[in-house]
């Protein structure tokens, strides 16, 4: 009886403390499940899982066509476009959705903005690239957009989600006629969300956290995301053109910066990660 008591006395606090230690250790590890649950970075499956990839791609490319008309064509600089695709592919490979193809392009737009359409096409404006100073900063912006694609934020935000689910796979054939009209109307609704209204605030924070995580996993300094937002903050004060920019479609910058600064504590060795300023200066400049 005495030994049983000793056993209980010894093991209970022991196992409890190891469990606790394990929990805190996990929290210190940015790749841990516990930490991800707390930061909300885990991918939650939703009703959008019923939309298959070819359909998602059809929706995304249709939106991309509208985006080009709205913000301008890609900058005619093949070296820059290739460079942006390399940086984007690097972080995409370490994102929570690494198995779909991603394409990136710099658009000839004077508004600081970046946006992603469902399926993996990501655009960034030349005005936004212009204020960046390192590859890590470009990686942060692209990884934020990848975060939206990974979590299917645009698809979750449309009021026409029911239409997409009801129609099943979107094909060229069923876009002839009435379904085509409904599809166009749904694309129009999503344009409003992506280009004017902006996504839900929490989705933006989620994309910010996902960006830091993917950048860090790749080996880029995750604090670059904060530096990008600080640059935008300086610009916001003097910028006249706010419509359709990251200022108007995203939550207040000070709030995003504050959340990211808290997040940065999970990457104690962040400063030792790559910034890559020289290569950015060589290939990342819009000419």
């Amino acid at each position: 009886m005495k030994t049983v008591l000793i056993l209980v006395c010894l093991i209970l606090p022991l196992s409890a403390s190891t469990a606790l230690a394990g929990f805190f250790e996990s929290l210190a590890n940015p790749e841990s499940k516990e930490w991800k649950i707390i930061t909300g970075a885990t991918q939650v499956l939703s009703s959008t899982q019923e939309i298959d990839y070819p359909t998602e791609r059809n929706i995304g490319e249709s939106l991309a066509l509208e985006g080009l008309q709205r913000f301008g064509n890609p900058v005619a600089n093949e070296q820059l476009q290739k460079y942006v695709n390399l940086v984007g592919s690097a972080v995409a490979a370490n994102s929570t959705r690494a198995t779909i193809p991603y394409q990136f392009a710099v658009l000839d737009s004077q508004v600081q903005n970046a946006f992603a359409v469902p399926g993996g096409v990501i655009f960034v404006s030349r005005a936004l690239v212009d204020i960046l100073e390192s590859e890590a900063e470009l990686a942060a912006v692209l990884a934020h957009e990848i975060g939206h694609v990974s979590a299917k934020h645009a698809l979750k935000s449309t009021r026409r989600a029911q239409f997409f689910q009801g129609v099943g796979t979107i094909t060229a054939a069923n876009l002839k006629g009435d379904t085509g009209k409904q599809f166009a109307s749904a694309i129009n609704d999503m344009q409003g969300v992506l280009f004017d209204k902006g996504l839900d605030k929490e989705m933006e924070f989620e994309a910010d956290l996902a960006a830091m995580e993917a950048a860090y996993r790749t080996g880029y300094d995750p604090s670059a995301m904060i530096r990008v937002l600080e640059k935008l903050q300086k610009l916001e004060a003097t910028s006249r053109e706010k419509k359709g920019s990251w200022f108007s479609t995203h939550p207040p910058l000070d709030e995003r910066i504050a959340r990211l600064q808290t997040q940065l504590r999970h990457y104690p060795d962040f400063a030792a990660q790559a910034s890559v300023k020289e290569r950015f200066a060589k290939y990342g400049r819009v000419k």
Binding site: T3, L7, L10, I11, G22, E31, T42, L45, D52, Y53, P54, T55, R57, N58, I59, G60, E61, S62, A64, L65, L68, Q69, N73, Q81, K82, N85, L86, S89, A90, A93, N94, T96, R97, A98, T99, I100, P101, Q103, A105, V121, T169, I170, T171, A172, L175, K176, G180, K181, F183, A184, I187, Y216, R217, T218, G219, Y220, D269, Q273, A274, R279
Partner: protein, 176 residues
């Protein structure tokens, strides 16, 4: 009493071993992951490991992990390439994307990626949308060019290496 203490020690030891094993499973979460002979990207490649593969961590050294794969191969992985949660399988109706159906076989993915992305030009639905909307030809062509750009795993590796990024970082191969 001494006997009991011995049992207790054994029990506690067993308990910690069991907990350790349970906590040390990881899943490969990044495309293009290779198992290395040492904790350095410059070391010999033992095998390609596909996204979703389960590995057991044997040892940890900075940002590198010594692991054992399901097929019993032992080697080192860059910690940024694994996750504590199993990545969700992508249901992609036939189009595996740049790296192909990585969940099935890394060999297929490598072959597919080498031959380039299977998506070329606008998706049929988007092309029909453009037709319905009368989207100017200029924008269709622009998007075509965007969609045709590809980055092969080999190009990506060279790019990371040249930038000394992640597993290719200087000083003990990214060990920080």
């Amino acid at each position: 009493m001494r006997k009991h203490r011995t049992y207790l020690v054994i029990f506690v030891l067993l308990l910690s071993v069991v907990t350790a094993i349970a906590a040390e499973t990881r899943w490969v979460s990044s495309e293009g992951t290779t198992l290395k002979a040492e904790s350095s990207a410059a070391s010999e490649t033992i095998a390609d490991v596909a996204v979703g593969s389960e590995v057991t961590v044997i040892e940890s050294g900075g940002r590198w992990l010594k692991v054992r794969t399901a097929s019993g191969k032992e080697g080192w992985l860059f910690a940024g390439r694994v996750s504590e949660t199993q990545p969700a399988a992508e249901v992609s109706g036939g189009d595996g994307g740049i790296f192909g159906n990585s969940m099935k076989s890394s060999q297929i993915s490598t072959a597919k990626a080498d031959s380039g992305r299977s998506i070329r030009g606008l998706s049929p639905g988007a092309a029909q949308y453009a037709k319905n909307r009368g989207t100017p030809e200029l924008y269709k062509k622009s998007l075509d060019v965007v969609l045709a750009r590809k980055v092969t795993p080999k190009e990506l590796k060279t790019f990371l290496k040249e930038g000394k990024i992640g597993e290719y970082a200087q000083g003990e191969g990214g060990k920080k």
